[in-house]
């Protein structure tokens, strides 16, 4: 079989995942039901900071259907603090984060007591019989107040609310100049404060966990992004040997970073199952999710840009205060660091300084949310670039163009010391401007302004890049991250010629089954349909570091390419033996070995797999398998980029914003599946728009989350959103053999500043230069009234 096959990579293959999902044949964790399984309910603190002066679960024990009830005190000898894998500095303050509060609660929603019952309703009913008294303690919510002298302390024993201060200075690092000098000499210096509001990731599937405590064979099903990391940490935290722990992430309904924790709920369910010796399930309600699953963003950004009057940037300094919440999650302190190297964005900036202070408050902890650090960075730099344009009376595109790295300047070493391997910012921007009809819309804007139209028009520009493909293990180590950044893949060619790919990535909507099938089909010359991909179960996929940070394709996809390469090389030895030639005389192409110069002397991988399985005639010393494993650790990050443009109409009477047109041109390198890439861009952009216009987690003065349901935390529906016109340029990454870069977070990173820039642009004639996100009608209206935010 030597028919030339069209490459799979690049095809808009429809997803294999869909068949089950569109027919309801799904396996969400909450669908799991085991014989004898019990149900768990959690009593959560209604207080943001309090001492638990009395806690009595004996009443709950007497309720119908209840098996047991317990508190943190009952776990004194068992529970340990939840892990934080990223101690960003040596002196970082890392308070003990017990899954079940011992004597003090530090945010509203913290687990206080647990009921295990025969059915979920009985468990919830029995919570009402738990007697608990709280002695309230002073609540600290505001980050700057928390850092002030004499502030009430979230963790009294730590003596401070400061978690850490982390600094990068290009002068000190030897990667650039001195910012203080640049600022002293600056012809133009612009300072702004931007506030990234607190967001709630809002994956659609509430978290759920089932633990089956079979001795020597513990299994946890969890709605998690990180089954492998969870397995290792579960073993370390509970003392259960890792080879006796199995973690399964079955169908997982979205994550967006929100499911990368090792959670209190997972640990509590583990302890409960251990206590009762039976399988136990916990499925949270959405109200629980809102207060207990980690939040995102919540950063105050002070940014100073220095430039010459011709628009050339001469220096950039950034000072952040980042809200950790009451405790640290898995990567909480590191999130701002993921943005630290991105404030310089696509621009040639000679001097840069970044400083971030993490602070504890009596709020739900923060951690990664789609983009994690990079949306914050992109927002600040892309907002202040517009201010520079206004200051210098330049078009916002022009001021960017004067500063960005030119296509011919790649590879380019940035002021942070990162090497951008490839990019073409002119190409992406020119294409986007054309798609938007930039000049026509500018003309309309002018006309509306001079007519005094109550509906004003603005155009927002966002030219972004991001670092993804997390991550080179050595760099992670240098940043004090507690794990590596490699990824693993295994390829099994079965006796019947079907291919089984096992990946260490853990998709929850990203379409790895389809994309990995395309990659393997090309590498092995087998039909797309003949490849299956297994993941998310540590017993099947032993090795892996899971899915977050747009890493799966750029790291896990490359591991798969390498595993396929090993299969081919093993097969070559067997083929040479069977075709009676030297391995060097074989040419491999599209799944077939061909003896050079001997037409007809060919063997396919599938045929070789059959021969190897029979093992009747193998060369001496060759194992009867062509299966292979590979682990890939990237040398560097990948750097997708793009240009997003938003045209927004603002009703100046009501403050209502309507996105009239949104176009984006993304460069994510080589595209494996354009359909999936487009879907990621759409979804990412909408989450970015949602931060700009709709979403905000709000606490009252006592630390109660006011936006504790989807009634008040206003996610946009289809009716609130525009059509997005997306296009691509394709500048392959040079840092990996597929030329891929990653796409999962791009839209979210790019969209928020594009939208806010558009609204502010519309309102420049009213003297508006900033509006706090989300741009609610009232905030927009007040900005118009006041001439400022």
């Amino acid at each position: 079989m030597t028919a030339v096959m069209e490459p799979e990579v690049g095809k808009a293959r429809l997803r294999k995942e869909d068949a089950r999902l569109i027919t309801g044949r799904t396996q969400w964790t909450d669908n799991i039901s085991l014989p004898g399984m019990l149900h768990l309910a959690i009593l959560r603190s209604p207080m943001a900071h309090a001492r638990i002066s009395r806690l009595d679960v004996s009443g709950a024990m007497l309720r119908p259907g209840v098996i047991t009830a317990f508190t943190g005190a009952d776990l004194t000898d068992r529970q340990v603090g939840l892990p934080c894998a990223w101690p960003v500095t040596e002196d970082m303050v890392h308070p003990d984060a017990l899954p079940l509060a011992k004597d003090t609660v530090r945010y509203a929603g913290e687990p206080v007591a647990v009921v295990v019952a025969r059915d979920a309703a009985s468990a919830v009913d029995a919570l009402e019989a738990i007697e608990v008294e709280y002695e309230s303690l002073p609540v600290v919510l505001d980050m700057e107040a928390a850092l002030a002298e004499g502030a009430a302390l979230v963790h009294e024993d730590k003596g401070t609310n400061k978690c850490y201060t982390w600094i990068f200075d290009s002068a000190g690092a030897g990667t650039g100049g001195d910012v203080a000098a640049a600022e002293a000499e600056a012809e133009v210096k612009i300072h702004r404060r931007y506030v990234q509001q607190r967001l709630i990731p809002s994956f659609m599937e509430p978290r759920s966990v089932v633990v089956d405590p079979k001795p020597g064979d513990w299994t946890m099903w969890s709605s998690t992004q990180i089954p492998h990391i969870l397995r290792t940490l579960l073993s370390l935290l509970t003392g259960t040997p890792e080879n006796q722990v199995r973690v399964i992430a079955p169908d997982v309904g979205g994550g967006f970073g929100g499911k990368i924790g090792v959670t209190a709920e997972e640990m509590i369910t583990f302890y409960a199952a251990e206590r009762v010796g039976k399988p136990v399930k916990y499925t949270e309600s959405r109200s629980d999710t809102m207060v207990s699953a980690h939040h995102g963003r919540d950063v105050i950004q002070d940014i100073t840009l220095s430039a010459r009057r011709d628009g050339t940037i001469t220096g950039l300094s950034v000072n952040l205060i980042a809200n950790m919440g009451a405790y640290l999650g898995l990567v909480t302190p590191g999130v701002p660091l993921l943005g630290a190297f991105m404030y310089n964005a696509i621009y040639k900036i000679p001097a840069y300084r970044f400083e971030c202070t993490g602070v504890f408050t009596n709020t739900t902890k923060t951690d990664a949310y789609r983009g994690a650090g990079r949306p914050e960075a992109t927002y600040a730099i892309e907002r202040i670039m517009d201010e520079l344009a206004v200051e210098l009376n330049l078009d916002p595109v022009e001021v960017r163009r004067r500063n960005w790295i030119k296509h011919e300047e790649f590879p380019f070493t940035t002021v942070c010391g990162l090497v951008y391997d490839s990019g073409n910012y002119d190409a992406a921007t020119d294409k986007a401007l054309q798609l938007l009809g930039y000049d026509e819309l500018r003309a309309e804007q002018t006309a509306r302004r001079s007519a005094g139209d109550p509906v004003q028009l603005g155009i927002g520009v966002s030219t972004f890049t991001e670092m993804c493909g997390l991550a080179p293990s050595r760099i992670l180590g240098a940043l004090r991250f507690g794990a590596g950044g490699w990824e693993s893949a295994s390829v099994r060619v079965l006796a019947t010629g079907k291919v089984e790919v096992i990946t260490g990535t853990s998709p929850h909507g990203q379409g790895h089954l389809t994309a990995w099938s395309q990659i393997a089909a090309d590498q092995l010359g087998v039909p797309f349909e003949d490849v299956e991909v297994r993941f998310g179960d540590t017993r099947v996929a032993h090795k892996g570091l899971d899915t977050y940070g747009s890493r799966s394709l750029a790291v896990g996809g490359i591991a798969l390419v390498q595993a396929c390469g090993k299969v081919v090389e093993k097969a070559r030895t067997v083929a040479a033996h069977l075709l009676e030639c030297s391995p060097d005389d074989l040419e491999y192409s599209a799944g077939s070995f061909q003896v050079r110069g001997t037409p007809g002397a060919t063997m396919s991988i599938v045929e070789i797999a059959g021969a190897v399985n029979a093992a009747h005639n193998l060369p001496d010393g060759v194992e009867p398998t062509i299966d292979a494993d590979a682990t890939f650790d990237p040398e560097t990050f990948s750097f997708p980029h793009g240009t997003h443009l938003c045209a927004a109409e603002v009703d100046t009477e009501t403050g209502a914003v309507r996105i009239r047109k949104y176009v984006c041109v993304d460069d994510v390198g080589r595209v494996v599946n354009p359909l999936i890439v487009e879907g990621q861009v759409h979804g990412g952009v909408v989450q970015g728009i949602a931060q700009a216009l709709f979403e905000e987690a709000v606490y009252d003065a006592d630390g109660n989350l006011l936006t504790g349901s989807f009634v008040d935390y206003t996610l946009p529906s289809a009716a609130d959103l525009p059509d997005i016109e997306s296009d691509r340029t394709e500048t392959p990454a040079t840092s990996n053999p597929l030329g891929v870069k990653g796409v999962g977070e791009a839209g979210t990173i790019a969209a928020t500043p594009a939208v806010v820039n558009a609204v502010v642009d519309a309102l420049r004639p009213y003297g508006v230069s900033d509006i706090q996100m989300p741009l609610s009608p009232e905030r927009v209206w007040r900005a118009i009234q006041g001439g400022a935010s």
Binding site: A19, T23, S709
Partner: protein
């Protein structure tokens, strides 16, 4: 406990339920219809949407988390698991969701598909704006909705082109009087429709 009689996906069930049992919990826990999911507790997300008949016998999209099982007594319910025809052929809406890449994680998908089927019953040839407005009761966090809108418009076209495919709901009377256990076998067989490009 009170007794109810409900037809779900063509099969009639008689069950005792607690009055407080929500229809979605009845479907999931008593009938094993776990294809229908719960995404919130305030009737916002629409992930639990199913079709349910009104007193006149007309089926409409409802949020099964905001209906008591008692309120479904005597009614007929169609879930995502009963949408494909008995021979396994996908409903045009299911096919369109697949072909237009209208789902990613798939959690909102059952409710989104059922809401879209309901929408086309009232507006067989909707504009994009009508689709967006018509799906305002369903939240999706992955897709940005754009391909969902495309899918609904594509399904509308397919239904107009092939009118026979646009009547997926079998009359309850027409369904065989099968026991719930018997019904699960064909359902399992039709779990893997062809999805090649």
């Amino acid at each position: 406990m009170a007794r109810i009689s409900v037809t779900v996906d063509g099969v009639q069930y008689v069950d005792d339920v607690q009055p407080r049992t929500l229809l979605v919990h009845y479907l999931r826990e008593q009938l094993g219809k776990v294809g229908t999911v719960v995404g919130c507790d305030t009737s916002n997300c629409g992930a639990c949407t199913v079709l349910m008949t009104d007193p006149d016998g007309d089926a409409h999209g409802v949020k099964s988390c905001t209906v008591l099982a008692m309120q479904a007594d005597g009614r007929s319910v169609t879930t995502i698991e009963g949408l494909a025809s008995p021979d396994g052929a996908l409903h045009p809406m299911q096919r369109a969701f697949h072909e237009q890449h209208a789902l990613q994680c798939g959690f909102c998908t059952p409710g989104m598909i059922m809401a879209a089927v309901d929408l086309l019953q009232d507006i067989p040839d909707p504009t994009e704006e009508q689709v967006r407005k018509g799906l305002e009761g369903n939240l999706c966090r992955c897709t940005g909705y754009q391909n969902i809108v495309r899918a609904v418009i594509a399904a509308a076209g397919a239904q107009r082109g092939a009118p026979s495919a646009s009547e997926p709901e079998s009359e309850p009377e027409a369904a065989p009087e099968a026991a719930p256990a018997a019904e699960s076998a064909p359902a399992a067989e039709r779990a893997e429709p062809a999805v090649t490009a």
